[in-house]
Symmetry: C2
Subunit: 704 residues, 2 copies
């Protein structure tokens, strides 16, 4: 009666939530510092909360419309699952933001006593977010799955798909909106403050600085959390849907069918427990070892997950005699690829390695060479991650095939995505730690604390930049692998459905079909379109911000001179970012959901090509943009350590230009494309029953 193992998932989720609650309470009990720090932190809290509320409010109408469409086009229960997926994402994002915006001043305060305490506060607040994201995702998904896949007599995958689509849609808006918010503030603050007025970063006179700090929380905490929440749910779902299809077609029978369905839940449960245990490894008293401490957490978690996967597969093999041990290779390939791509991202974006050093050197001949070198590095940095990704796919597939044929190979691809994402809680934790440390530094600066405090938070922050880049590499590779697994599930369902209908033309997604290639071309174009929309949005919003900051410097007397009791109007800047983000996120978000549906209504062959086009070109664009931006950022930081003339030199000025361009690259467009890949695939998967009801699309069979 192995299906009862499915309950391990909600149980692990509850454990995860309990630990998260413990960590959150611990963080909130820390000393938030003096009045000034509390006030600054309070402003950041208010700004972040106001933005998230406004964002969620403006999504309600969207969610209701989509739910109604789903209720009619697919099923009412799918619509319910969709709403649950979305609501849980919102809750996770809110909790994460709540803790992070309170951990910032507490980290600063802890830093007054030493780096160990500061690291502990920042990392524990990050891990709160990580555990909430993973636990709520697993909780919601597993409950729907338990009722409609595991214990239901005729499993109804489209209902559970709805949950992931809810997660996806919220993630999309959170990423696009959060990305625009944070970079409008960041670019605006930098261009007027650092470049025009010549005041330092995070200077309290700059009215856009609070908005910038708010942005770190809504973009890097809430946005990244929603992103990985979605990948996580999708990666658990994909192998389950494949297991249902294999059972339906008689490839999996009896106990094997049940275990194949339950294994993804068990692996995810194990991942959460491993992440909790990994927490104990992150501890150091030595500022130079922060990075090592964080890595220790990741490696310990990953090591535990390897063991868990192995144990689960051995159990499976011993229970039924199926050679499930091969699946260990499949899942492990995904996990290893995630770690490898993270390392590669670090190589291309950290200033301890050659690529970033070359960009810094190129800055000596000006902004143009800095940018040419950066773009070239970013493009080059796509090569190895692509090869790692395809190696993982090939290994996962070939290993899986050894179990019993190509359907098992496809299931293996699903497991590889899941294998990569089992460590989600830790990855999100390490990533969300970054903005907290960043905020902590900002608060130290704005509150006028002694210089050594800022130095300590800077140490935490510089590690945070690298871990953020690594998390981005992980996010995009997991997005690609999850999307691939979901695409395979989509194709399997579509194929079975069309085959079951004697009147329907079979699926023809052969590359010789010109309409498949047309689909691929449209799909390949989407990331460019998305990149243009999001870059354009940041450009417009940053411009509005620049005008406002200039106005305040001009009109508020004594502000620039730094007279006491003269304060900038920080709310006006928060409001500009909020409005711009809400306005600009709608079109990309709606297009990502609507275009696959339209293509599917036309012809599922075109839609299939489209999904592969988005996946391939989107993966490349996302890696390219994220790494280019990360590399520029750290080239600037490298120069600030005193190389090539240090701060204020011509090389530094050139590097600031690159860094500014890199902001929307790495924090708005790149991550948005990341989600785009998943959203279009999940939407297509959910709508499969609807497309089937149209016989595979209005033009299906007419065109080819």
């Amino acid at each position: 009666m192995s299906q009862w193992f499915a309950w391990s998932a909600p149980v692990a989720a509850i454990i995860g939530l309990a630990v998260a609650a413990y960590l959150a309470v611990w963080v909130l009990r820390q000393d938030p510092g003096n009045e000034k720090m509390k006030k600054i932190s309070g402003e950041i809290q208010k700004g972040a909360q106001a933005f998230l509320f406004a964002e969620y409010r403006s999504l309600i109408i969207f969610a209701i419309i989509v739910a109604i469409v789903l209720a009619f086009a697919v099923s009412p229960l799918t619509a319910c699952a969709f709403l649950t997926g979305g609501i849980l994402s919102v809750i996770a994002g809110y909790i994460g933001m709540y803790v992070a915006t309170r951990a910032n001043a507490r980290t600063t305060q802890a830093a007054t006593k030493g780096i160990a305490g500061a690291l502990r506060v920042a990392y524990r607040s990050g891990l709160t977010m990580g555990l909430v994201v993973a636990s709520l995702g697993l909780m919601g998904l597993s409950l729907w799955a338990i009722f409609f896949l595991v214990f239901h007599e005729t499993p109804e995958p489209e209902i559970v798909d709805g949950f992931v689509m809810g997660a996806s849609s919220i993630a999309l808006f959170a990423r696009v909106g959060g990305g625009i918010f944070t970079k409008a503030a960041d670019v605006g603050a930098d261009l007027v403050g650092k470049v025009e007025a010549g005041i330092p970063e995070d200077d309290p006179r700059n009215p856009a600085v609070i908005a910038d700090n708010v942005g770190d929380n809504v973009g890097d905490v809430a946005g990244m959390g929603a992103d990985l929440y979605e990948s996580y749910a999708g990666a658990i779902l994909a192998p389950m849907v494949l297991a249902v299809a294999m059972t339906f077609s008689g490839i999996l029978t009896g106990e094997n069918a049940t275990i194949a369905l339950v294994v993804p839940l068990v692996l995810a449960a194990g991942g959460i427990i491993a992440s909790v245990l990994g927490l104990f490894a992150v501890n150091t008293d030595d500022g130079s070892k922060v990075h090592k401490a964080l890595n220790r957490g990741t490696y310990l978690t990953s090591g535990l997950v390897f063991v868990i996967i192995l144990a689960v597969m051995v159990f499976w093999q011993m229970s039924t005699g199926l050679e499930a041990i091969w699946f260990f290779l499949s899942a492990a390939a995904g996990l290893a690829a995630g770690l490898a791509i993270g390392k590669l991202t670090e190589y291309y974006t950290s200033y301890h390695y050659k690529p970033v050093k070359k960009i810094a050197l190129a800055s000596e001949s000006g902004a143009a060479t800095n940018i040419i070198e950066g773009l070239s590095t970013g493009m080059l940095s796509t090569v190895l991650p692509t090869l790692v990704l395809i190696a993982a796919v090939a290994i996962a597939y070939l290993a899986g095939s050894q179990v019993g044929g190509m359907e098992f190979g496809v299931y293996g691809i699903g497991l590889s995505a899941l294998g990569m994402l089992t460590t989600t809680a830790t990855i999100v934790g390490v990533d969300a730690y970054g903005p907290v440390a960043d905020n902590a530094g900002g608060i130290a600066e704005m509150a006028g604390l002694p210089h050594e405090i800022r130095e300590r938070t800077d140490q935490l922050d510089s590690v945070g930049n690298t871990t953020a880049a690594v998390a981005k590499g992980f996010a995009v590779s997991s997005a690609a692998l999850t999307a691939l697994a979901l695409f395979v599930a989509f194709k399997t369902n579509l194929d079975a459905g069309l085959a079951a209908n004697p009147a329907a033309t079979p699926l023809n997604i052969d590359l010789a079909n010109p309409f498949v290639i047309i689909g691929v071309l449209i799909g390949a174009m989407m990331p460019f379109f998305f990149g243009a929309m999001t870059m354009g949005a940041v450009s417009r919003a940053a411009n509005a911000m620049i005008i406002e900051v200039r106005r305040q410097f001009r009109e508020i007397k004594g502000l620039l001179a730094g007279e006491p009791d003269v304060e900038p109007d920080t709310k006006a800047c928060v409001s500009i970012s909020t409005k711009a983000a809400l306005r600009e996120m709608m079109l990309p978000g709606i297009l990502a959901v609507v275009i696959p549906v339209i293509l599917g209504i036309l012809d599922v062959n075109i839609l299939s090509g489209f999904l592969v086009g988005v996946l391939s070109s989107g993966f490349l664009m996302s890696v390219y943009m994220a790494n280019t931006g990360g590399a520029w950022d750290n080239a600037k930081k490298f120069i600030e350590t005193g190389e090539h003339g240090g701060k204020g030199s011509e090389a530094h000025k050139a590097a600031v230009v690159g860094d500014t361009i890199g902001d929307p690259f790495k924090d708005t467009s790149g991550p948005s494309i990341n989600i785009l890949i998943k959203v279009v695939t999940v939407v297509s998967l959910v709508f499969v029953p609807f497309f089937l009801s149209l016989g595979g699309g209005l033009l299906h069979g007419v065109l080819f």
Copy 2:
């Protein structure tokens, strides 16, 4: 006996060559100006000739190795055809460069009397190149085709494929090498001259200026010519190969089989005649109407081609009763798409429209916003061309299918690529006119001619910038369409070959095959890799150039002060560009040829996915890079007309940064990716018999 119509192709080619000879002689008879102008022009000639000779020399070994491999892996005749394709490309490039580097001073001299004469010299020299390119391409291809496809009892397509592969390989090196040469010089000259030393563009004191002018000729004349020569040959070949396959499989019989084989040659012949007639439309005495005059030439040629296509298809339908009139739509869709994408390119890159004006406006807040806006515009500019391209493919396919099923639809796609490329001679002519006008301006500056001469050549040059951008749009869309047609031919041959071998596993290029998706991912990565290699090459070479120019300014006494009789060492700069180009072009060139062969040796399914991946991601990247660069260039030019503070303002400085980054974008990486798309497809097509001899690859049937 309709196969005799095939001879129209070599006949038209001879006419084209005769007209080209007449034009060349006419240009060379014009007055080359005073001694100083002759001297400068002579230096450009020597530099260009030296580079082309060195380039060709270093390609000999490559060509011989490939020919030997082809002789063994495919057939000795294929190797011969390969060498012919390459040699004719070299000859066309050399003639074009020869005339262009002599027309430059003659255009300057003609400009002393007025703009009409100057336009005539520049355009006639450009058209010489255009006619030579098209005529030699058609001559070579048609002779091989006549002997091995049309009059041969058992047609041997792989022999004729070899011709196109020769064209491709040379084009690749010409584009990559020429692109690196010209941009190393341009970026180097600008960064030290304009930015550091504060001397104007084309100032004779700048030692890199001659190299920059040489670059215009080897990059924009010889490089672009080789690019379109290759597309042209490929576009004629693809429908012929498809006709052979359709005859082989019994879909085409009797007279229809012959006509389908001969029609591509007849259409190409008609295109050359139409281009010759279009020449008469390009004439104006009014400087403000230069652009209109050039457009008139393009439209007249296109109009004539429409009529020719219609007449040919009516003739076909009347001869055999096959509803060939539908093919008119197929070919016309391609021709119209070429014109439409040209117009769209103009919209996104000319300063008469909103996108470039917005970039110019963004320059007011500095280089960062200029670049963000430029990158965003470039990404956005991919959307409509993609839609136009897929519309052309869909129309060509659906119209063709009306003739008698999907195989005819595929043949229709081949005709659409050809339809687009029938006007090649005119397009190359209009494009090659640009660098001649550009050189003419440089000579006017360097020879110290009165200001109004430079103003006249500037008028010609500014139009040349737009026509160059339009030609780039045309080049990339024709590359995509040609590659698609060649891919279809590749797939058809592969399919037939595997089906004929009972021991071989059939082709499985269904998107559900993970190895096809792996292929797509590798393919999608290639343009990024290529972009990185070529951008990096320009960056390295420009750096060497900067160091040399700085050295000369420092060490040659009186040079910067402009003392009489003190001359810079221009040869040293030409030599830096030459060496860098030759060194840096080898790796990308070799990879483009070798990677598809390796993938095919592994498994033709992976290779098929790879080709679609390169096509889709490469088309997007190429359009993105070309348009971004073009838009930055013209944003700078727009500011130089006096907007946003004009020359020397902060906005102008910001725009110069964008322009400098745009140089390798639009003139090195974008065009290189363009060729990459075609090279990988042609190489794959040529090696089909070899892959078949391996049963579809060593892992074929093992993997899936």
